[in-house]
Symmetry: C2
Subunit: 166 residues, 2 copies
């Protein structure tokens, strides 16, 4: 029984470490994305700071990275673990929100929107687009891991209650 | 003691009813938003189906509306309430995600993005923009209510555990 608990704890810590790595990668890949391009005589540089949604993505993911890093060093017997469900919830919401916003803009960047006369830009700056895609994939992995952690916490807390009294 | 529990239950049901009303309004306001405009000789119609992010907003909010409606009729003693934390979590994520995506596009519609040569469209279709803003506000209210419900559920479930054993 004790070995199962230990395996569970290691698995839990591993998931948290992976989530930390995923958000950190998302921040680094998004923040380093920039590409110079010239269309006719017009020169421009694509970078994440040009788009509010991408800035929000970097800020949101940075906050979750710091949180994920701090949680890794929380001692297993700490009382604060009881509050981790609520903080996990808030930071997962932040992550979901920032990725959705960045994804919506990335979709316009890739496909454009003919109704609003917004042209796609990925043909001019393919390297930039690939880096943004990479950052979004890393962010999506982090969301999936945090969702697993959250649903697991809720299940673990609720399970004895369900069994005890329906 | 019993009257406190009763007041709490009424408050809980009221919040759920408000959340249902908010998502329903968001769907109706967004789905009925359309405006015809002409720029020079070029005629166009702005509607939510032209933008994938707005379609996602309508679909996401519709799903949450149906869920919110069904939950209203769940008997108070039902065993399914125990699972409501997990389903609330998933549907709140859906709501947050759809609003963030729609907000990111609405921001481009309002301010444009000079770096990508995407021009703002709100000057041509102000009525459409106002309706989208209204839908986003209704959606944001729904998110806030679901967050309160979620944090309250987590607090209620965790509280006895925290008191019993730290």
């Amino acid at each position: 029984m004790e070995s199962i608990t230990k395996a569970r704890k290691i698995c839990h810590l591993l998931l948290r470490f992976l989530a930390f790595g995923a958000t950190l990668s998302a921040v680094i890949v998004m923040a380093t994305s920039h590409e110079k391009a010239s269309v006719l005589v017009f020169q421009f540089e694509a970078k994440y700071t040009n788009t509010p949604a991408f800035k929000y993505f970097v800020i949101g993911n940075s906050l979750v990275t710091v949180y994920g890093f701090l949680v890794l060093f929380l001692p297993p017997e700490s009382f604060l673990w009881r509050l981790a469900v609520a903080t996990d919830l808030v930071f997962t919401m932040l992550l979901v929100s920032s990725i959705s916003a960045a994804l919506a803009i990335a979709q316009v960047g890739k496909k454009g929107n003919s109704h609003a006369a917004w042209l796609p830009i990925c043909n001019s700056v393919p390297k930039f687009c690939n880096q943004v895609t990479g950052a979004l994939v890393a962010g999506a992995i982090a969301v999936i891991i945090y969702m697993i952690l959250l649903l697991n916490s809720i299940h673990r807390v609720l399970d004895p209650l369900i069994l005890r009294k329906c």
